[in-house]
C-alpha cells in the first residue's frame, strides 16, 4: 500500500534531520566554547620530571598561542606528527622508551590535560608539568 510504503522513508527523513541537527548543535557548542590562541606575551612555568624523579624547571616567555608552539620554540619537545596532532616522544632531550612502556604525561597545575599539545591554548601564568611515566 502506498501509505505504508511511505512511512519508513518519512521516519528516515526525520532521523536524518535529527542527526544533522544534533551534529550542528554540537558544532555550535564546540565553536562557542573553544579557546582561541592569542598572540600576546605570556610567561609559562614548565617542570620536566624524568624517569628518576629529577625535576628541571623552565620559565618560558613567549607569544605562542598553543603549548606545542611554546615548547617547540624553546626546543623542549620533539615527536611524531599524527592525524591527532604531535605525539610527543622526547622532552628536554630525554626520549620515552616505548619498549619500557614509557610515555610523557602532560598536566596543568597537577590536572591531566584533556587535549593534545596542538589544541592546548596557553595563557599567562600557566604551570605545566611534563612527567616521564612508565607502564601503560
Amino acid at each position: 500500500m502506498p501509505h505504508t510504503a511511505k512511512q519508513p522513508s518519512r521516519r528516515f527523513l526525520w532521523a536524518i534531520i535529527i542527526l544533522v541537527a544534533v551534529m550542528a548543535a554540537m558544532a555550535l557548542i564546540y565553536a562557542a566554547t573553544r579557546e582561541t590562541p592569542k598572540p600576546y606575551e605570556k610567561t609559562l612555568q614548565i617542570a620536566v620530571v624524568d624517569g628518576n624523579g629529577a625535576q628541571r624547571d623552565f620559565t618560558l616567555r613567549t607569544n605562542a598561542g598553543t603549548l606545542r608552539e611554546a615548547l617547540q620554540e624553546a626546543g623542549l619537545i620533539a615527536g611524531n606528527d599524527t592525524a591527532n596532532g604531535l605525539f610527543v616522544t622526547t622532552v628536554n632531550g630525554v626520549a620515552a622508551d616505548e619498549g619500557k612502556q614509557e610515555w610523557w604525561r602532560f598536566t596543568k597545575s597537577g590536572e591531566m590535560l584533556l587535549t593534545g599539545v596542538d589544541a592546548t591554548v596557553v595563557a599567562d601564568g600557566d604551570n605545566y608539568e611534563i612527567t616521564l611515566m612508565s607502564g601503560y
Binding site: I16, L19, V22, M26, A27, Y30, T33, A83, N84, M112
Partner: protein
C-alpha cells in the same frame, strides 16, 4: 554452524576487528569496527560477544590499559546490545543512521567515565574537546555503512552460512 567451525569463525572475527582497527588507526575516528560489529551481530547474534571480548582485551594489550580502555568496556557492548535489539533490520540506510548516531554519541559515552573520576567539569571538557572527532566519526560511519553494508552482508552470508 558446527562447534569447531564456530570457534574458528569467532576467532577470525576477533582478529579481523583488531586488524581493521590497527590498519585505520592513522585516521582519527574513521573506523570499520562499528560496521563489522553490525555484520557479525546480524549473522552470529549473541556469539558476537566472543570476538568483541577478544577485540577489547587485545586493544588493551596493544595500547595499554589506560582510562580509555574503561570506555571500551561499556561503549562497544552497548553498541552490540543496540544491534542485537535491532537484528531484524537489513537496511543500509538504517545502519548508516544508527552508526552515525553511535559515532556522534561516542565522545559523550566515553565522557561518562570522567564524570566519576574527575567530575562534571572534566567530563564536559573531555566531551567538548572531542566534538570534531565525534563529527568525523559520525560522517565516517554513515559513509562506510552506505558503501559497505550490502557487500559485507552478502560476503557474510557466504562465509557464515557456507
Amino acid at each position: 554452524m558446527r562447534p569447531a567451525k564456530r570457534v574458528a569463525v569467532l576467532a577470525a572475527c576477533g582478529a579481523l576487528l583488531i586488524t581493521v582497527q590497527v590498519s585505520l588507526a592513522f585516521l582519527p575516528n574513521i573506523e570499520l569496527v562499528s560496521l563489522l560489529l553490525v555484520i557479525f551481530t546480524l549473522h552470529l547474534h549473541a556469539y558476537v560477544l566472543a570476538p568483541l571480548a577478544v577485540f577489547i582485551v587485545v586493544e588493551g594489550l596493544l595500547y595499554g590499559f589506560g582510562i580509555w580502555w574503561a570506555h571500551y568496556l561499556y561503549v562497544w557492548p552497548l553498541w552490540v546490545l543496540f544491534i542485537l535489539a535491532n537484528r531484524n533490520k537489513r537496511s543500509a540506510a538504517f545502519w548508516a543512521l544508527a552508526g552515525g548516531a553511535f559515532g556522534l554519541a561516542f565522545g559523550a559515552l566515553c565522557a561518562l567515565t570522567y564524570l566519576f573520576t574527575g567530575g562534571v567539569h572534566t567530563a564536559m571538557a573531555y566531551f567538548i574537546s572531542g566534538i570534531p572527532f565525534d563529527i568525523a566519526h559520525c560522517a565516517g560511519n554513515v559513509i562506510t555503512a552506505l558503501v559497505l553494508f550490502r557487500p559485507l552482508m552478502r560476503l557474510g552470508d557466504r562465509l557464515f552460512w557456507a
